[in-house]
Symmetry: D2
Subunit: 106 residues, 4 copies
């Protein structure tokens, strides 16, 4: 199984949550709220930066480390939400790309 398999990562996150009996907290509504919260924290990392300061070559290692954690937090709750709603992330992403292909022709 490849290390970056979405299905496998989703399964690991589910096992983590189930082992702690967090199912009752992980309603779709609550998970959507958690995603908004983490996305807000991710945005906050960049709020006073110029476009240039936000580039990989300009970010401090400390800042980049904080951003990495926020990316992980958004991703974890997004996978959890997709899981409890039986949404196949790869499929919906590819569907959306296909729609965008027609909306934004080259």
């Amino acid at each position: 199984m490849p290390a970056d398999d979405l299905v496998q990562l989703t399964r690991e996150i589910r096992q983590f949550a189930e082992a702690r009996d967090w199912g009752k907290f992980h309603t779709p509504k609550n998970l959507a709220m958690a995603i908004a919260g983490e996305a807000g924290e991710l945005a906050a990392e960049f709020q006073w930066m110029t476009a240039e300061e936000s580039s990989l070559s300009s970010l401090s290692e400390e800042s980049l480390e904080a951003i990495r954690f926020e990316i992980a937090d958004v991703q974890i709750y997004l996978m959890r939400l997709a899981d409890v709603l039986s949404v196949d992330i790869s499929e919906v992403v590819r569907n959306k790309i296909a729609i965008n292909e027609t909306r934004f022709s080259k």
Copy 2:
């Protein structure tokens, strides 16, 4: 290549953006802002629902379809942000799970 490979999906999203010359828009700051915007739209889908109404068995097909698109939008911008910052999503997710394992012992 599996259909749900994170690296492969990220590459497809990059090619889509590069084919449209969107690189100048896809600064880390702008992408973080786009993630917050899409996460807000995802939250809005659930804002007046009770916990029960947000469950898979209660959601209307129309509502679920809108939610699927919002999940895709958050995921696409999150992959794009990780890509421009050379962040390995699988790695940061697993690092975060490992940290959470020690913070939330069973």
Copy 3:
């Protein structure tokens, strides 16, 4: 009563909600979620702009009109949340400014 009195505006918003029997929807949790949703829409207005393009002198009238509506939406739900939690917005804003005065000395 001045037209820009926070207490008066909050009362008008409350009357609007009560006349429609929206009390059961306006739990603090739901209102916080609505604020996140509207803040996301407000952010989305600016996401692909440069700092310069987001300035008052550069914004199109169409764009500014959309931004005005999003500001109103965030403000309405924020006043509603403060109202249902008996939070005095003027008081908490002044408290926060006083704290910031000590954190960020001139």
Copy 4:
């Protein structure tokens, strides 16, 4: 001058920012991002609560204090954004209520 006058509060926040020479950071784009960040933190306070737990009578004083600060943070940046865009908050709120009156008839 009444303590809850929106124009007066906005002026105090402007003076605070100008005294610290924060004008260059307070572009509309950055302020919209800051609002999204603070709205995310506000949402995070409520994310695992049930609707009942989020009510004024159920919240702990500690939780309520944290929520008060988050409300203040969203309000401060919202007033700042309105100020730099010359938006009259009272006016846009009343315009939006008038529009909603026609959309949601009693």
